[in-house]
């Protein structure tokens, strides 16, 4: 009798210990179910997409929507634009922003100017896009850069620049000054020391920063929506959005494009996982 009771108690305790896991699994289910559903729609034949009851598993899979969207379809062009744009704007933001970060982290500035400049730079990042979009549109129009990857790349560079400065400034500050001072005593110039000594030391941070810029450019929607007009410059998010509101929505092709759009982001995020917190908090929380 006693044994049975303590056995029951044991089981209850074990069950209680499992509860947190159940809750965590439920949370993961909620987080992933919409993504999974999008994936299934992209793989289902049209007749099954909206079948009742909903087919969560065990449907006939097909790749026709991926072929539809990308082989010869506009999405191939959008994809190419997105890739080029993310690459160009990231490289530009790094090229301009890394020296600034170094300058703020390494030199003596009178009256805390380094902090003031850094704060000002960060505050430009906080401008809501909708505030600057109208003037930017009119400016690009004057420069004849509407509907061009270059025009959009310029805008994205400005968007990512503050982020690069803040992230890299933090990474540079973590490198002891003495290392480059020693190199400069050995006859290296300042920029030589930066290129050959310091940058290799902050390589992981640099990579993480680049990844964040890539993701921001890849995901961006509002600027791309307004500043592009044809396939010459439309990006994947704009392409996907432009298929959403029409009468007969091609859910399959759109979902396929959505799945393709999210894969690079997930890969990049996995690569930069160590720096995720730091990147998402604009460098404020040092991981």
């Amino acid at each position: 009798m006693m044994r049975a009771r303590s056995g029951w108690r044991e089981a209850a305790r074990k069950a209680a210990a499992l509860l947190p896991y159940l809750a965590a699994v439920a949370a993961v289910f909620i987080a992933l179910a919409p993504v999974y559903w999008l994936l299934t729609i992209s793989l289902k034949r049209e007749v099954d997409q909206f079948a009742y009851p909903p087919q969560w598993i065990g449907f006939t899979a097909t790749l026709e929507h991926y072929r539809d969207a990308f082989a010869g379809g506009s999405f191939a062009a959008y994809f190419e634009n997105s890739v080029l744009l993310a690459a160009i704007s990231t490289i530009a933001a790094l090229a301009i922003g890394v020296p600034a970060a170094y300058g703020l982290a390494r030199f003596e500035w009178p009256r805390q100017w380094d902090h003031r400049i850094a704060d000002w730079i960060l505050s430009t990042r906080m401008l809501p896009p909708i505030v600057t979009i109208v003037p930017l549109f009119l400016m690009l129009r004057q420069a004849r850069l509407l509907n061009s990857l270059i025009g959009l790349a310029i805008v994205y560079t400005g968007f990512n620049l503050p982020f690069v400065v803040w992230m890299m400034r933090g990474f540079f500050e973590e490198v002891p000054k003495e290392i480059e001072e020693a190199a400069m005593l050995d006859g290296e110039s300042r920029s030589g020391a930066l290129l050959r000594i310091v940058l290799p030391l902050v390589r992981p941070g640099l990579a993480a920063t680049a990844v964040f810029c890539l993701v921001v450019a890849w995901n961006e929607f509002l600027f791309a929506l307004i500043l592009t007009q044809t396939e010459a410059a439309m990006t994947l998010p704009v392409g996907i959005a432009s298929r959403v509101t029409q009468y007969e929505i091609k859910w399959g092709a759109m979902s396929a494009a959505g799945v393709v759009a999210m894969i690079p982001v997930l890969v990049f995020a996995a690569a930069a996982q160590k720096y995720l917190v730091r990147g998402l908090s604009l460098g404020a929380v040092k991981g």
Partner: protein, 408 residues
């Protein structure tokens, strides 16, 4: 070695960018049924003329914005645009004038909206899609319940009640999503009850007949599916196609789908007729799609050549066979097409009597405000009279604001 490969790649890339000079047209069309025919025509024209054709398909909600930005900035991104006729007064200032006037085979209501000012001015567009609202109803159910064809809105209400209760389906279905949708479904009622939106520069959409019309719309709403205050055209058509609703106002572009066994459960059961009347005879709303050449186009000569070609009788007949409602009388009356499209006589009659939306450059903003309050009334969030008073108030403000200010 790697550098050489890179250089070659770059060179190839640059070459592919510059390309060889050739004729090219960029065409902005509505994504969906209305754009299909023009898209096909553009491809055909491109092949025949060795021209590079780019078709930019945009959803209705964003097409206007894209085109408007291109027009006012004269960016020249698009050589041909497809536009909904209520946008025309707003866009007219930035459209290129047609090199020659269109012939008189086009239905006159469609031609009138291509002129700026309305009816009298220069031609700035050609009508491509001859859309005017029709009344769709289930003929089989009307016969089953011994109901005559609906001539007035009172007939519609009686039928909605009878069929709805008898068949356990929705007697009527309408769309009352804010913006274009709810306004389009309300206008025929408003006109039939003798009301209007504006008179000159005065908002009159809260006049007694208008309030009556809106009350009537809510009455009909009782026989509509729940949530209809969020419906758009696709939901309305889905209910008709699935046989879950018996009547609605709809556009000719959907006729083909109703008789297509792959999409419809009601093949051959739907009758398409003219709009019911009430105090005034019934008129449908004109929703013609026009083709025009932006003043900023860098290929205007080719663009004009294309739009004249696409609206010729021969081409329009081909487009009609692809399901495009024509704008030419001769196409509507051609016997072989009537044999194929049983609704053509009704379509032509409705198109010839159709009424366009008020010809004002501010229509988008007015429709937006009007739609918000109509949708709120349908949703039960506002009393009909209060909703129309609020709508009139905000429309009046829009009219006054734009009377004094000129647009940049």
């Amino acid at each position: 070695m790697r550098n050489v490969a890179l250089a070659l790649f770059l060179a190839a890339f640059l070459l592919s960018c510059s390309g060889t000079p050739q004729r090219s047209l960029t065409i902005a069309v509505n994504a969906g049924v209305e754009g299909t025919a023009l898209k096909a025509a553009a491809r055909q024209w491109g092949q025949a003329n060795h021209a590079r054709i780019e078709v930019v398909e945009l959803p209705y909600a964003n097409l206007f914005e894209k085109e408007q930005l291109d027009l006012t900035s004269r960016t020249g991104a698009y050589d041909v645009i497809m536009l909904d006729d209520p946008w025309f007064p707003r866009m007219a200032a930035d459209l290129a004038r047609l090199p020659r006037d269109p012939d008189s085979d086009f239905v006159s209501t469609c031609l009138e909206v291509c002129r700026h000012p309305y009816k009298t001015g220069a031609y700035l567009a050609l009508p491509y899609v001859g859309n005017a609202q029709l009344f769709f109803y289930r003929k089989d159910l009307f016969e089953k319940y011994r109901l005559g064809a609906p001539k007035t809105w009172d007939d519609v209400l009686v039928a909605a009640k009878k069929i709805g209760e008898g068949e356990k389906i929705y007697g009527y279905v309408m769309r009352a999503a804010p913006g274009n949708a709810v306004v389009a479904d309300f206008m025929p009622l408003l006109w039939a009850f003798g009301g209007g939106v504006m008179e000159g520069n005065r908002a009159i959409c809260n006049s007694p007949p208008a309030v009556e019309a809106l009350r009537f719309m809510l009455e009909l709403g009782k026989y509509s599916p729940p949530g209809y205050a969020g419906f758009n055209a696709d939901e309305v058509s889905a209910h008709l196609l699935q046989g879950t609703a018996a009547m609605s106002i709809n556009w000719p572009a959907w006729i083909a789908a109703m008789d297509d066994p792959a999409k419809s459960k009601v093949v051959g059961k739907i009758e398409f007729s003219q709009m019911p009347g009430e105090r005034d005879p019934g008129v449908g709303e004109l929703g013609a799609w026009l083709v025009a050449v932006p003043a900023g186009s860098k290929h205007a000569a080719d663009a004009f050549e294309f739009i004249y070609w696409a609206t010729e009788p021969a081409q329009m007949k081909q487009a009609a066979l692809r399901g495009n409602p024509p704008t030419r009388r001769s196409i509507f009356q051609s016997p072989d097409l009537i044999a194929k499209f049983r609704s053509y006589p009704a379509q032509l009659a409705s198109l010839e009597s159709a009424r366009p939306r008020p010809r004002t450059a501010e229509w988008n903003e007015i429709e937006n405000s009007f739609g918000i309050y109509l949708s709120k009334a349908n949703d039960g969030a506002m009393d009909p009279r209060a909703a129309l008073n609020a709508a009139a108030d905000s429309i009046q403000k829009i009219l006054e604001r734009n009377e004094s200010a000129t647009h940049p």
